[in-house]
Amino acid sequence: EAGVTQFPSHSVIEKGQTVTLRCDPISGHDNLYWYRRVMGKEIKFLLHFVKESKQDESGMPNNRFLAERTGGTYSTLKVQPAELEDSGVYFCASSQERVTGELFFGEGSRLTVL
């Protein structure tokens, strides 16, 4: 069974440009999460989808970040325009249930904003 896959693995962009990160959760997992780790700091929650609906987006830093999950399958996270402080590793995770506690993480998308 395929795990959570993320694309791209690494993206380098200039400040002010746009980047779109993609996440394909484990098949059948209705719950999809985005987390971010800025270098050396904790992994922080960004938002949670249940199928195509945003359940909780309290961790989204600002309105430059837009997450979508059309059709309840894969998800995209767009950063527009990117700022230097957006650099970090963006993790996607999925779970079958909301309260089981086991999240399955992807390998992450490393974003570098120059």
């Binding site: 719950n31 904790e42 992994i43 993790f91 506690g101 999240l103």
Partner: protein
């Protein structure tokens, strides 16, 4: 402010030794405390987890010790092996939002052969 404080930032242990990583939290509404293990280039993976109704949980060489009154929990790795070298994250979450994890800053563990 940081809701889950983790220490040390890095740790070097000899093969066969015991690795100990500590975490502390403030929010008494937390009721789920997992540890995640992350190897370079990979995503974090659930290692072991505990709920506050028990003070200890053991799975193989990995043990979580939980002190509810002190609001602290720790990961002990017995007989540490070079293959255990990884970054370890403690985390916590609230009832009803179990998968909305609040992570510590991570501990980079190196087990020397």
């Amino acid at each position: 402010q940081q809701q889950v404080k983790q220490s040390p930032q890095s740790l070097i242990v000899q093969k066969g030794g015991i690795s100990i990583i500590n975490c502390a939290y403030e929010n008494t509404a937390f009721d789920y405390f997992p540890w995640y293990q992350q190897f370079p280039g990979k995503g974090p993976a659930l290692l072991i987890a505990i709920r506050p109704d028990v003070s200890e949980k053991k799975e193989g060489r990995f043990t979580i010790s939980f002190n509810k009154s002190a609001k602290q929990f720790s990961l002990h790795i017995m007989d540490s092996q070079p293959g255990d070298s990884a970054t370890y994250f403690c985390a916590a979450s609230r009832r009803g939002a179990t998968n909305k994890l609040i992570f510590g800053t991570g501990t980079l563990l190196a087990v020397q052969p």
